[in-house]
């Protein structure tokens, strides 16, 4: 096994009656980027803050780069954990200029060369020459890059991100998530990245950990988590999903719905199953399942259809040249899907 970057073991945390984190376990290799992806309120931020030492777990062990920072016996304060953290609200200090913001961790470490190293880190995040400006003269994206530089500059063992991009607008968000990944990889730093935006989690990470209700429902690389979600809940949270009922298995790796047979994978051995289908596996095709287009939303590069069939509502994407209109009848073929145990209501 390769070197350990971060390990959480059996972490629990309650706020009063609210059992927020319920036995969270995860291990990151050194240099790995893992995204914690989950719905609002599932405990992602709490988990991250416990790693940082900003919140104290009720029980469990946290190890950063082989050093135990929190266990029954040990409890290092945040400043002793050698981490860097990037906050949603940037948390750039308004009373320090950009260089002083970035140089601060170095100054604390009594690094004589602080100014120069801060400038080099600023180059890295493409803010070269902005060292003398004050944060209130910077755009949101620039402020977030200052925060990033500040988190990186002292070469911490671990980088923590709490939804660093959700205050930025869509275009900037896309640019920055790429930048963050490139930087973290370039520096080779272990990173834990909290977000509730699935494309962001996929774009930024080596592995995605889906957190549901205070436990990790699945950890896997993006492709795997997308193609083979462990449960219906994970599948729903990771990308768009249509659910069809009245499905029967017709053999190993095959199932039939509405008389239409298709290749499937399976998340369950149960007999009573539903079929989860991704929009890109739905094609308009003669001879497929019949359905009525209840909504067609032109979004530019694709048009999103909502198709009502007898088995359930399907979401499909079609190119802009495909002539479909709300209300029309279409036939769809399914290229694949995954079977899940029928959820009990």
């Amino acid at each position: 096994m390769s070197e350990s970057g971060l390990e959480l073991r059996a972490i629990h945390k309650r706020f009063g009656d609210n059992h927020v984190v319920r036995g969270l376990e995860i291990a990151l290799e050194a240099g790995e980027i893992v995204a914690l992806l989950g719905p609002s309120g599932c405990g992602k931020t709490t988990a991250l803050r416990m790693v940082a030492g900003l919140e104290t777990p009720d029980s469990g062990t946290i190890t950063i780069a082989g050093q135990t920072v929190k266990s029954d016996a040990v409890d290092l304060p945040p400043e002793a954990r050698r981490i860097g953290m990037v906050f949603q609200s940037y948390a750039v200090w308004p009373h320090k200029n950009v260089r002083d913001n970035v140089a601060y961790p170095l100054k604390l470490a009594k690094n004589g060369d602080a100014g120069a190293r801060a400038d080099r880190t600023l180059e890295l995040v493409r803010l070269g020459g902005m060292g003398d400006r004050f944060p209130d003269t910077l755009s949101g994206g620039q402020q977030q890059r200052v925060a990033l530089a500040r988190a990186l500059v002292a070469e911490p063992k671990l980088l923590l991100f709490d939804e660093p991009l959700s205050n930025l607008d869509a275009k900037l968000r896309e640019e920055m998530r790429h930048e963050i990944r490139v930087l973290a990889k370039q520096v080779g730093i272990t990173s834990l990245y909290v977000t509730h935006d699935q494309p962001e989690a996929f774009a930024v990470s080596d592995r995605v950990a889906v957190v549901l209700d205070g436990v990790i429902a699945q950890v896997a690389p993006p492709r795997e988590i997308y193609a083979e979600p462990a449960s219906l809940a994970v599948a729903k949270f990771v990308g768009r999903l249509s659910i069809l009922e009245g499905v029967e298995r017709t053999g190993e790796g095959r199932a039939r719905v509405q008389g239409f047979e298709l290749p499937v994978t399976s998340a369950t051995d149960a007999q009573s199953v539903v079929l989860g289908v991704r929009p890109e596996d739905v094609r308009l095709a003669d001879g497929g399942i019949e359905g009525r287009v209840t909504r067609a939303t032109f979004l530019g590069e694709r048009t999103e259809l909502e198709i009502e069939t007898l088995a359930g509502t399907l979401r499909a994407d079609v190119g802009r040249s495909t002539p479909v209109h709300g209300g029309g009848t279409v036939h769809v073929a399914l290229d694949g899907g995954r079977l899940y145990a029928t959820p009990s209501h």
Binding site: G53, L54, S89, Y104, A147, A154
Partner: protein, 549 residues
């Protein structure tokens, strides 16, 4: 808008006009009284003493208030959130106690010869007469201004700013120095300005503790007081001249503090709000708790219980013998009830008036920048004018009857002397600054879209204000109401000059008993005043807690 015009007119009539009347006398004969006063060494000394006093009080109250705010808001020194809240409330209690009562108590406790503390210690180890004592008493009276301001600012600041420093490798103390303090600096500066003005304009404490010191120490306010008691037009002009000096001094301090407050904009973006992680005090926790308890005991509980206890002591000669004789005497007096009823009515009316007017002025300041700034300056300036001078201004301005004449008939006549009206005007003008301040802070926290939504829903400006703005600012307005009503309850300086035959107040009663008739009975009245103030304070806290849910 017409409300704004009305408010401005009222300000001009009730605040500016009386002050102008005073200034006119000071500047008579080409400013002769002012020049004469400026040439007096005694005036220089008083001015110097005032600066020293205000400097020390500010220099001590600001760090003290800020430290307490930080302990209450950011550390784990408390057993539960309830104790945290209760401690916060206890520490702001001095706001409800008139400073001169604190001074009375401290004079009993800490006079150098036979103060109770010295008697208990059988050695002269404290002497609160003189500058040191005045500084200490004013500090215990004024640190809550800082505490409140810094607490508010700490709770608004994005906790991520401090947490970022923790994760960057800074320990709690470094975070405090490098991040927390710079962040709350603007609000500290603003509070420092207020404390400075408070100390500059203070009269009761410097008088009670300064004039009995040997040698006696005099300040601008006590010198002004002497001029006014000596009587004569000449003396009045001298007093007014000194008032100008005082006004200029506190005006400069105010300007400096708001410059400091605005110099670095601390944009406090608050993201998803999370409660900041509390600083773990570890083994220091015990010392911090002990320190808090000791502080609360000496600065708050000790003086207040001294007042209560003197009211029970049979005489100053035998403080050990307790009896209810003074209580019986005071409660049997016919005018006691009347005085308290007047004071409570005055406090309630003035509090309400100032809260509303403050809101109007603050709103004007927000809507029309320049005119609003002028109006809010006019509204805040009288706080820096000594009460005596303000009262004389009101006497000069309102001893006559004002008649509004329409169509050659008198339609409205205003004659204030001897009525509660004159006292309301005096209190209102003096404390309007608090109302404006509170309302401004509240308005700044309300997103403009809330009111705009009312407009686009079909509400006119007035309707929108009443339906949306008022309910939202009501906690802050209630707070302003309390902050104003409490000092009005026991106001002394202006009341003794302005009260009428039928409008004696708790303050004038206290003054009469204290200085002429019956000093032990004065402690009874003082105890009653403090008691009522504490009850009022408590009720308003209950009320505002209910409102915010």
């Amino acid at each position: 808008m017409s409300i704004g015009v009305g408010a401005t007119a009222a300000l001009l009539l009730f605040a500016v006009w009386p002050l102008a009347a005073v200034l006119r006398t000071a500047l008579a004969d080409g400013g002769a009284p002012l020049l004469a006063e400026l040439a007096e060494p005694g005036a220089h000394e008083a001015w110097f003493n005032t600066l020293v006093l205000a400097g020390w009080v500010t220099g001590l109250a600001v760090p003290l208030g800020a430290t307490l705010a930080w302990v209450v808001e950011r550390t784990d020194a408390f057993v539960s959130e309830r104790t945290r809240g209760a401690t916060g409330a206890l520490l702001t209690l001095p706001l409800a106690v008139p400073p001169y009562l604190l001074a009375m108590a401290w004079a009993l406790l800490g006079n150098g010869r036979n103060g109770l503390l010295n008697r208990i210690a059988s050695a002269p180890w404290v002497d609160l007469y003189g500058l040191d004592g005045i500084v200490l008493v004013l500090v215990t009276a004024s640190y809550p201004f800082v505490l409140l301001a810094v607490r508010a600012s700490l709770s608004r600041a994005d906790p991520a700013l401090e947490e970022a420093a923790r994760t960057a490798g800074a320990g709690p103390v470094r975070v405090l120095i490098d991040v927390t303090i710079p962040l709350v600096l603007p609000s500290m500066a603003a509070a420092a300005g207020l404390v400075f003005v408070f100390a500059t304009a203070a009269f009761g404490v410097p008088y009670l503790l300064g004039s009995v010191a040997s040698p006696p120490v005099y300040f601008l306010t006590t010198r002004i007081f002497r001029y006014t008691t000596l009587g004569g037009e000449d003396m009045l002009a001298r007093a007014a001249a000194l008032a100008i000096v005082l006004l200029a001094t506190s005006g400069l301090a105010q300007a400096a503090s708001s410059w400091l407050a605005k110099r670095r904009s601390t944009v406090q973006v608050s993201g998803k709000s999370s409660r900041p992680s509390l600083v773990r005090l570890g083994p220091l926790r015990f010392f911090v708790r002990a320190g808090l308890a000791l502080f609360a005991l000496t600065a708050i509980v000790l003086p207040l219980s001294t007042i209560a206890w003197t009211s029970l002591a049979k005489s100053f000669a035998e403080p050990g013998t307790l009896s209810f004789v003074h209580w019986n005497n005071v409660l049997a007096r016919e005018e006691t009830l009347g005085a308290f009823v007047h004071s409570i009515v005055l406090a309630l009316l003035t509090g309400a008036l100032v809260a509303v007017l403050g809101l109007v002025v603050a709103r004007m300041a927000k809507v029309t920048r320049r005119a609003g700034a002028v109006v809010s300056f006019l509204a805040s300036a009288p706080y820096a004018v000594p009460g005596t001078v303000l009262a004389i201004g009101l006497l000069l301005a309102f001893s006559l009857e004002y008649r509004v004449i329409v169509a050659d008939r008198v339609t409205f006549a205003l004659y204030l002397p001897g009525t509660l009206g004159l006292l309301i005007v005096a209190y209102g003008v003096k404390y309007l600054a608090f109302g404006v301040r509170g309302a401004r802070a509240a308005l700044d926290q309300i997103h403009p879209s809330l009111e705009e939504a009312a407009r686009t829903s079909g509400a006119g400006p007035l309707r929108g204000t009443v339906d949306v703005l008022l309910p939202l600012v009501s906690p802050a307005v209630l707070a302003a109401f309390v902050v104003v009503a409490l000092p009005c309850l026991s106001e002394l300086t202006m009341s003794v000059l302005l009260f009428g035959a039928h409008t004696q107040t708790a303050g004038t009663l206290l003054f009469e008993l204290q200085s002429y008739a019956d000093p032990p009975a004065a402690s009874v009245v003082a105890t009653l005043v403090v008691g009522i103030a504490l009850v009022g304070d408590f009720l308003s806290r209950r009320l505002s807690r209910r409102r915010t849910t």
